[in-house]
Symmetry: C2
Subunit: 253 residues, 2 copies
Amino acid sequence: MSLPVNTYFTSRATVRKFDHTRQLSAEMLTTLLAAASHAPNTGNMQTYCAIVSATPEEVAALALAHFSQPAASGAQALVTFCADLNRFNRWCRLNNAEPGLDNLQGFLWAAMDATIFAQQFVTVAEQAGLGTCYLGTTTYNAAQIAETLDLPVGVVPVISVAVGWPAEMPQQSTERLPLEAVAHVGKYRNPSDGEIREMYAEEEALPANREFVAANGKENLAQVFAQIRYPKEANEHFSRVYREFIKSKGIEI
Amino acid sequence: MSLPVNTYFTSRATVRKFDHTRQLSAEMLTTLLAAASHAPNTGNMQTYCAIVSATPEEVAALALAHFSQPAASGAQALVTFCADLNRFNRWCRLNNAEPGLDNLQGFLWAAMDATIFAQQFVTVAEQAGLGTCYLGTTTYNAAQIAETLDLPVGVVPVISVAVGWPAEMPQQSTERLPLEAVAHVGKYRNPSDGEIREMYAEEEALPANREFVAANGKENLAQVFAQIRYPKEANEHFSRVYREFIKSKGIEI
C-alpha cells in the first residue's frame, strides 16, 4: 500500500528566468505569505519575518547584496526571510519579562522556523503557478541586506527567495541522489566506499557536470564542489563574517 | 487580483494523537521522503538525511530522548532529520578533494536544508492524509538521539517529526499573529509599543492562554514564555550542550 502524492512534489524544479509581462504585486505575495504562516513553528512564538521587495528599484537595490546574480537581479520580486527576535523581545519587555533567546539555541529556533516559513512560501507560490529560486548568498552579505532593508537589532536574514512568473518551463526535476543516500530505516546505515561511489555515479555522468569539471580543469566533480564552489577558506571566512554580524544584532551564537 | 491558494495551507493544524489501528509502514514513509527530496537544497549537495523509526520498539526507544512526551511516545513513527556531512565528506575524500563544510557556514547550510527537507515531508505527509507534530526537543538530547540511531561523525540531528494517522480532527488552524507582524513590504517597519501590544492581544485573550497564565501564577503570557517555557538559563545550557555535541561530530560552529 502506498499513499497519494501530488505530482507537483516530484516534478517541481527551480526557475531562474521570469516573465515580467505578467503582473506580480507585493499584495499578491503577502497573501501567499499569510497562507505560509500557518506552517508549524516553535511554541507558536513566530520569531521570524519576511520582507517583500517587489518594485524594480527595490529588487535592483537588494540584488547588489546577492552579487547581482541573474536569478536575483532578474527576479520580479525578492523575499528575504529573517530570524526575528525584535518583536518577541519587545513584547516580553513590555510585559515585565526578560526574554532569553539571544543565544545559539534561540537563534537556531528562529532560523529554522524562518526556513520552514520560507519553504512553505515556496510551496504555496509554486502551487499557485509561480517560479522560485533560493539565493544561497543571504548569509554572505547579511550586513548589506540588513542595511538595505532597515533591519533593527534582533533581526538576522537567513534565507532569500527570488520569485516571479516562469519565463521558461523548468526541465525535468533536478537530479537527486538515490533514496538510500538520504533515507534510513531504524538505524543510520553507513555506506561502504563502493556504495558511495555508486550513489554519485549518475550525477557525475551528467553531461553538464562533465563539462563543468573540464571547464575548471579539475579531475572530478567532488573537486569542483570542494575547491571551486564551496572552498573551505571561503566557508570559514563567511562563518566569521556572519557570526560577527549576528553579534552586531544582539545575538551571540 | 489574487493567486489561488489550496485551502490545505490555511486550514492545516498540528496533530498529537494518532490512530494505531491504521497501517503506517516504514516503506510508506520512505516513499513520502523520496517525494520530499525534490525540495530545493544548497548546490544540490543534499547534506541531509532522515531516519525513520516505525516499529513500536524503535519509537519507544527514541521517544525517551524526547522526554517521553505523548506526541513522541504515542506516535506511529518518528522521523529524525539530520545535517549530514558524512556522505559528502567521504565522497570528496574518495576523489582526492578536501571538503570544507565543518564550520558554522557549512553546518547552517546543512541544518537549513535538513529543515527544508523536513517541512516538505510534513506537507507531503499532511496532504496524503497523515497528521504530524514537530518535536522541539531534538537539539536538547542530540547525543542520546545519535546513540539510539547510530549516527556517525558528520551527522547531527536538527529536527524531528512525529507522524501517524490522525486520531483527532485538528481544530481550526492554530492562531497566528496578524500578517503585519510577520510580513513587511519594501523595508522592515518597526512597530510602536502600542502596535506590539495589539498584535498579541488576540493570543493573550484566548481562554487556554489565560488559564496557562493563572495555572503558572504569572502576570501575563509573555512571562509564561520567558520564565516557564523558554527560560534564558535553560536556553544557554542547551546552547552549550548542543555546541559540544556538534563538535564531537567533527563540526566546529
